[in-house]
């Protein structure tokens, strides 16, 4: 009996593995088909997918809604800008390290404040803390450039450096896309493992029933804290990857409406699924890019889209598709 379940799971898991591999291959082939701009957009999409994945560890798996994740994203980006400007670091690997360490420390600090709270109180605490960071980024002109922000040059990637001369933009986007793709694949794998590990189950248990989790001997605060730190660091990693691509960072990326956008993309994909925020991150990037390109009132378009999404597919894109597939397979089984 038990062995049988194990076998079924193994089949399902190897299926998943094959599908993921195929998707990764397609993602790897796309830049050869797409133009530079589309490749750039896709890179943004993957980056926001990483941000959403981090955010959803808290929302979907731990049951905590953070309204301050912009702080991690923004600080990850600012850390890169500082390291590049003040320490003269040009190497992306070192910049990544700086970004990850900075957001890790920030998440630890936020986590200490937040992990004792739940529900709206947790959300407000995250919001208040992130707003402190936002205010500082705005007011400390001499360091951050205030609301003008800071610009960031293209870093060197691995052994490829010096993106200059003709075609540099294209080459950088092309190389950087693969850089992001590899990190994306690693992070998706790690997070998938995490979500299906004993610790991942513990988080879901806490989400479902805090009291009972306590009564099986789980240290709830500690688990929430760990989840928070992983979540914040991952969203921070997204910010770190994002800034070389935009070349510019302003306090807007730390401001609370940006936290709202992270929530938006996660729910767009669906927060009850592992893959929801991944799809959501990519879809949101395209949605926003096209809205911004087609009208000055792109927020209006996003808002309408948001309402339509919530009304028409409350479980997100992934939820919609999985219920469609379920309906389809049950029909084909019957007939």
């Amino acid at each position: 009996m038990i062995i049988k379940i194990g076998a079924i799971k193994n089949v399902a898991q190897s299926k998943l593995f094959v599908i993921s591999l195929l998707i990764a291959l397609v993602l790897g082939a796309l830049p050869f088909i797409l133009g530079t701009y589309q490749t750039l957009l896709l890179a943004y999409g993957l980056i926001f997918a990483i941000a959403g994945l981090g955010f959803n560890l808290l929302l979907g798996y731990t049951g905590l809604l953070s309204f301050g994740h912009a702080a991690f994203f923004g600080v990850g980006a600012y850390a890169v800008a500082f390291a590049a400007r003040d320490l003269g670091i040009k190497n992306m690997e070192l910049l990544l390290l700086t970004g990850i360490l900075s957001t890790f420390f920030l998440s630890v600090i936020f986590g200490i404040f937040c992990s004792g709270l739940t529900r709206i109180f947790f959300a407000i605490m995250c919001l208040a803390l992130s707003q402190v960071v936002w205010v500082l980024s705005n007011k400390l002109y001499s360091i951050t450039g205030g609301s003008d922000g800071m610009s960031v040059k293209w870093p060197s990637i691995l052994w490829f450096d010096e993106y200059s001369g003709s075609g540099a933009f294209h080459r950088f986007i092309f190389d950087y896309y693969y850089y992001v793709l590899v990190i994306f694949c690693i992070m998706v794998t790690l997070m998938w493992l995490l979500c299906h590990s004993p610790f991942g189950k513990v988080l879901q248990a806490i989400r479902d029933n805090e009291t009972r989790a306590q009564f099986v001997g789980i240290n709830i605060k500690k688990c929430r804290f760990i989840s928070f730190v992983i979540s914040g660091s991952l969203t921070g990693l997204a910010g770190t990857l994002w800034v070389p691509l935009t070349g510019h960072i302003t306090p807007e990326s730390l401001h609370w409406p940006f936290s709202g956008e992270i929530l938006f993309l996660t729910l767009l994909g669906g927060f009850q699924n592992f893959s929801g925020p991944i799809i959501g991150g990519i879809a949101f990037t395209y949605l926003k890019a096209y809205a911004v390109a087609s009208t000055p009132y792109w927020q209006f378009v996003l808002g309408v889209a948001l309402l339509l999404i919530v009304i028409a597919m409350p479980r997100g894109i992934v939820g919609l598709f999985s219920s469609l597939i379920a309906r389809f397979t049950s029909r084909s089984e019957r007939g």
Binding site: L193, V202, D208, I218
Partner: protein, 252 residues
Amino acid sequence: MTLLETINLKKSFGENVVVNDVSFNVDDGEVVSLVGPNGAGKTSLVNLLSAYLTPDHGQILFKGRDITSLSVSERIKIGIARSFQIANLFDELSALDNISLSISARSGKTYTFLSLADRDTGVQNEAGNILSLFGLDDKSNIPAKELAQGERKLLDVAVAYALKPSFLFLDEPTSGVSTRDKAKIMDTISSAVRNEGVTAAIIEHDMDIVFKYSDRIVVIADGRIIADGPPENIRDDKDVISVIMGSQGNEV
């Protein structure tokens, strides 16, 4: 040998004294029933003993050691577990995962981050065994929220049982279950508990079950212990029976 002892335990909510000066003890390996009318303070007593509530007054000793100030998780570590009167489960998780969670928490696997939970055959097999012990093996992949009322109560008990406690509190394990299934469930629980030598305190309203399965009966009314003894003695004590039965009359 005395496993658990309470000394003058007291708890009130405002004016309402719900556990009043309760002193009693439970021996190693005993199966004790806690009975009494609705609102007598049985659940509150268990809440005190499992650290869900803190007493206003009094002491709790476990294996001779004062555990009054220990937290929930510390009490679980020394082997005190409980189930709940209203099934208290991880609703989105499967029945099997509900149990595996107890097992991995017990065996210190909570902080395992990068290995698949369902590949841990040790935990999976043990969870499967416990599920079949409670007759739930065909429900193993069903989310707890989709189980029937009686199955949820059983799973609730199984989650506590999977912690391998030396002392197990069961708060009305058969409430919400049809009379016919009650005996089956109690048979299951009783044999599981006795085979493992677990000491148990069971809150129960059905007196037939109480008389059949317990070594000793403790009767509580208005927060006080009004009788304490083997089933035969309680059965013959007319006054006590009328207190308990009065409540059953109310219930029906």
